[in-house]
């Protein structure tokens, strides 16, 4: 029988266990967060949709200057959806282990699973929200269909990787230092206007462009916009910067999770 404590099992079985555990954690997480009242788990993507619609409306009303001839709706949708994607993952993973410490008694559940479940959930919510709003805006004619949907997906996945790695790293750090939670909020707010959501790199003066491209989120957002608008967006990004950045961050995150797993004390 497949009970706890099955160590040294073949890879195929491990994979099956992994999928089962993540599935169970996802359902548990969704039920805990959204319950079965009113629209239940639909909040998963309704909430980000409301955010994005609100920001789109505000930016449209304010005739936000973004330095290109792109329609403001398109600009807001791609920009703010990207922000939700990378910003919510760390927000949900910080302190996540404290809320789930009891689960450490089930030996099939690892610290990383707790973070992975929350990251997947945020990814799902942000992606469904982005996709549904895109379809809606395209259907009513506010938005042209994306020129290169694969590039949109590529940029989106890159942002998700960045957000997921940051979430895992900060989540694991936050278990042992309250500073992480305290500093993440101001940091994420300050990063928002710098993240590439509210400007096109191309519209910046050359010196600013140079510095903007040090901010990792800028690259992902630029790729998403290039996929959406093609040459009209004149995107600036460097895969040679953002991919190594994500790899190093992921490695740091996994090291931190490993250290934490050895030290964690269940309630």
């Amino acid at each position: 029988m497949d009970v706890a404590g099955t160590e040294n099992q073949p890879l195929k079985e491990s994979w099956a266990v992994q999928v089962r555990i993540l599935g169970a954690l996802l359902v548990r997480e969704m039920l805990t967060r959204y319950g079965r009242h009113n629209i239940g788990f639909l909040w998963l993507f309704i909430e980000p949709m409301i955010f994005t619609l609100g920001v789109t409306a505000l930016w449209t009303a304010a005739k936000s200057v973004h330095g290109s001839d792109l329609p403001i709706v398109a600009f807001a949708l791609t920009g703010y959806s990207s922000v939700l994607l990378w910003r919510n993952m760390p927000g949900r993973c910080i302190g996540a282990l404290w809320a789930n410490l009891g689960l450490m008694y089930h030996r099939n559940i690892k610290v990383l699973d707790i973070y992975a479940a929350r990251i997947l959930l945020e990814f799902g919510g942000a992606t469904i929200s982005f996709a549904m709003l895109s379809v809606l805006f395209i259907a009513i004619g506010w938005l042209e269909p994306p020129e290169d949907i694969l590039k949109v997906a590529g940029g989106w996945l890159l942002l998700a990787w960045l957000g997921g790695a940051a979430a895992t790293y900060l989540g694991a750090l936050s278990h042992e230092s309250e500073l992480v939670e305290k500093l993440w909020h101001p940091f994420s707010y300050l990063l928002f206007p710098l993240s590439g959501a509210a400007f096109l790199v191309d519209a910046l003066p050359p010196t600013a462009q140079f510095y903007a491209l040090f901010i990792p989120t800028v690259h992902g957002t630029e790729i998403v916009r290039e996929g959406y608008f093609g040459t009209r967006a004149r995107a600036h990004y460097d895969l040679g910067y953002i991919i190594p950045f994500c790899m190093i961050l992921s490695a740091l995150a996994l090291v931190q999770v490993r250290k934490l797993s050895r030290r964690v004390v269940p309630e």
Partner: protein
Amino acid sequence: MIRLRDIRKVYETRHGSKLVLDGINFDLTMGERLGVLGQNGAGKSTLIRLISGAEHPTSGAVERNISVSWPLAFGGAFQVFLTGIDNIRFISRIYNQEFEMNLAFVEEFAELGAYLKEPVRTYSSGMRARLAFAISMIIEFDCFLIDEISAVGDERFHDRCNYELFEKRADRAMIIVSHDAAYIRDHCTRWGVLHATKLELYDDFEDAYADFKELIRWKPPPGWPNVEVPTA
């Protein structure tokens, strides 16, 4: 078989390192039930967590080639915002078990009736204990870890727990920690006393209990009970 070798556990605290367990060695085979006596804070629960694998020793090794339960009486990691049924479903998924069968067992055993459909946070401590115990029984572990099970619930519940554990599962290995000496005497086959980071093992309960009493004896102030209370 469960084998503990040279277990040492140190917690880093604000006041420096605290040695909780040191040089713990023992083997436990199927059918054996080890009862561990110890004061509050002696490290009983830490020992249980190390054996369960939820926590790792600072040095030494815990070898298990049988499946080990989570500490019974502990909620099996209840999510208190979820209903009893959702918690059963979660545990069933984690351990790859059939949910319907488990639900039927818990309904029968925990006697919670319609409360199973309510969030666990609305349960009393006795109701939580019933649910926790019933959920622990749906997974057939080879070794059960029992941490102060006699602390909660009414007599009927105790009797049913004892029947499930010591009659129906008499062939399993168990480790029971408690300050309730009578409980440990009645249900164990081997005994241990945990004191000042060391675990002393005994084959006879009376020897263990005598040493335990001596170790934890309250030493009254000189002249007690005729001590003059100082007046201001």
